[in-house]
């Protein structure tokens, strides 16, 4: 109908899977065909959504590589915090029981660094949403969920780098993993799961913020108290009771404790009679699951609302 489309079209409009399913269905009768097509279409849609997400994640990673200063908060920051707490504060902090503070510290810094991911998500999305690129994406026949999902996926990849930097710095300062590979992988998995959940929190902030600067401020206002009312840097044993309860249920504490347990590092929290401290691994997984269940739909809702303005 229009010369403008000549020679371009959408050769992949019918996915190979859908075509194959239609072929199979023809042999087995009309009813089964429609069912098979519906299933294949659904699979095709999910496949496209996954590809869109991957394309956008690649874009975000590409930005991170070309502007590395934007990701200093997850690459350089862990080194700085490890050094600060090892050398500046470490001398004044004593752990209940016996144990090296540096060995204790790294699990906490893992947890805090995982929160930092959310900051990047929030700022990145706040920049995107105030520019024109998201409008462009929304005018394409692509998956509408991919904008948020792609960003959080890319941030997850960045988190792996941050975890490696933290671990590397820790190893240089004498921190060691005292358990086997299975426990190590479990610790990393828990940390990444929490980072991914936090990243969706960052996405919510990005959708609410008027600018990148306000996303950064809001992010800091959440992350700073969350990190400091946890057992990331100190033991909660000497806190006043109500604050200790808060700290023991804080997801950052829970993750830090779970990492310490899984990696065989000093864990004074084992003496604390509170459910999340006694079941830190399970509690951390639950925390992340709850956060994901709440924050993913919230971020999607806020995104839909934001783009309608």
């Amino acid at each position: 109908m229009s010369g403008g489309t000549a020679g371009l079209g959408h050769p992949l409009a019918a996915s190979p899977a859908a075509v194959a399913a239609r072929g199979a269905g023809a042999l087995a009768g009309a009813r089964r065909r429609s069912q098979a097509t519906a299933v294949a279409d659904a699979a095709g849609t999910a496949g496209w959504a996954a590809r869109d997400m991957a394309v956008l994640a690649k874009r975000t990673l590409c930005r991170m590589i070309t502007t590395p200063e934007q990701v200093l908060n997850v690459t350089a920051q862990p080194i700085i915090i490890v050094l600060l707490f090892s050398y500046v504060f470490g001398g004044s902090i004593t752990l209940p029981g016996h144990g090296s503070y540096r060995e204790y510290l790294i699990g906490g810094i893992f947890a805090v660094t995982m929160c930092g991911t959310a900051q990047g998500t929030g700022i990145g999305l706040a920049i995107d949403i105030s520019g024109g690129l998201i409008d462009r994406f929304r005018s394409l026949p692509m998956s509408r969920a991919a904008v948020l999902a792609g960003r959080t996926l890319a941030d997850l990849a960045l988190t792996i780098v941050a975890a490696a930097v933290t671990a590397g710095t820790g190893l240089l300062l004498g921190w060691r993993i005292h358990t086997g590979p299975a426990d190590t992988i479990a610790a990393l998995g828990l940390a990444l799961l929490f980072a991914y959940a936090a990243s969706w929190g960052g996405a919510c902030v990005g959708m609410l913020a008027r600018s990148a600067e306000s996303a950064q401020t809001v992010g800091l206002l959440v992350i700073l108290p969350l990190s400091l009312t946890s057992n990331a840097f100190i033991s909660t044993a000497r806190l006043t009771p109500w604050l200790r309860t808060v700290a023991d249920w804080n997801p950052v504490s829970v993750l830090a404790t779970a990492c310490r347990q899984l990696l065989g590092n000093p864990d004074p929290s084992a003496a604390i009679r509170s459910w999340p401290m006694q079941h830190a691994v399970l509690a951390s997984a639950l925390w992340s699951a709850v956060l994901l269940a709440a924050l993913v739909p919230l971020a999607v809702f806020l995104y839909a609302r934001r783009v309608q303005r």
């Binding site: 403008g4 409009a13 409008d135």
Partner: protein, 336 residues
């Protein structure tokens, strides 16, 4: 018969609060034509485009683009449209080529197809030499060209251009106009918003003047100009000439009351242009003994129409509403 309508809207409305937004928007854009939404800043042009491009959900009314409903069949619409917004819709950390390849992949092309399409567009838009550079290093003109190329990645049947030449120098603007004309010749339907009268006049076969969130008038550039008021004879009298006598003579030829003299020694006479008009006026004045320095015929411009309609009418211009409403009514009746 008339070509199929590629954009059709009726009663389209979107409110952002009291007095903000658009309402009662009717549009009909036949395939392969260029239609312009012309209006001042804040008139609602972008809101209309965003609704048609499925970015905003209308509060009322309906619209079909490329035969699909923008609300119920959004994805089908998005398969057939391209959009160039006012804000730079490119990733400026990525290269020009990487931007186009990404958009191709998001338009459901394979990686290979997306690469081929990107190369093709970079050639078409003269951006091959800059293809490997990050977009943030591009000049304004190059960025705008890449932006337009980006909206063509999926081979759209309908192209929305929201103020495509704002901020461009005259050469870049003309080059972009040429591209838009070529696209329309090749069959793409173009809906273009602009605040530049010249741009609408140069490109569009049909113009909708948008002001205060409504279509204030529409028609061909010629119809809008005609509706803006009659042609005018501008007569510059020689020093010492009798103004009153000249006015009396000219009243016989005038198509309406003489406007107040815009400058001392000048007379403005509304006329219906016809063969021999200027000659007869000069002869009349000569016979009456009025000496004339200069005489010129001024046809109404789109600017007259625009200023009349958008309420920024300067003194001496005809009231836009009175002058245009019959034309607008006619245009609407014809469209319906």
């Amino acid at each position: 018969m008339q070509a199929a309508l590629m954009i059709e809207a009726r009663g389209l409305a979107k409110s952002f609060g009291p007095g903000l937004g658009v309402s009662g928007i009717d549009l009909q854009v036949p395939a392969g034509t260029i239609v312009s939404l012309l209006g001042p800043n804040g008139a609602g042009k972008t809101t209309i485009v965003r609704m048609l491009a499925t970015l905003l959900r209308p509060d009322a009314g309906w619209a079909r683009v490329a035969g699909h409903d923008v609300v119920a069949q959004g994805r089908a619409v998005r398969r057939r449209i391209g959009l160039t917004g006012q804000l730079a819709s490119l990733d400026d950390c990525m290269t020009g080529r990487a931007n186009l390849v990404m958009l191709g992949q998001l338009s459901r092309m394979s990686r290979r197809q997306a690469r081929a399409r990107a190369a093709d567009l970079l050639t078409q838009f003269g951006l091959e030499s800059a293809a490997g550079r990050a977009v943030r290093t591009y000049s304004g003109g190059m960025r705008r060209r890449l932006d337009l190329a980006a909206s063509l990645v999926g081979g759209p049947a309908v192209l929305f251009l929201d103020e495509p030449t704002t901020g461009l120098d005259p050469d870049s603007r003309r080059a972009l106009w040429e591209v838009v004309r070529r696209l329309a010749r090749e069959g793409t339907t173009v809906l273009l918003t602009t605040q530049y009268l010249e741009e609408a006049d140069q490109l569009a076969g049909h113009i909708c003047v948008i002001t205060g969130g409504r279509v204030a008038a529409e028609g061909t550039p010629g119809q809008l100009k005609a509706a803006a008021g009659p042609a005018k004879l501008i007569i510059s009298l020689a020093p010492g000439a009798d103004l009153a006598r000249a006015a009396a003579v000219l009243a016989r030829r005038a198509a309406g009351p003489l406007a107040a003299a815009p400058r001392p020694g000048y007379l403005e006479v509304p006329v219906v242009p016809c063969a021999g008009l200027v000659t007869s006026v000069i002869r009349d004045l000569d016979e009456a003994g009025v000496a004339v320095n200069d005489i010129s015929l001024q046809l109404p411009t789109l600017e007259d129409a625009f200023r009349g309609l958008t309420g920024s009418a300067a003194a001496g211009l005809p009231s836009g509403d009175d002058a245009v409403s019959p034309e607008a009514a006619e245009a609407r009746a014809r469209a319906a």
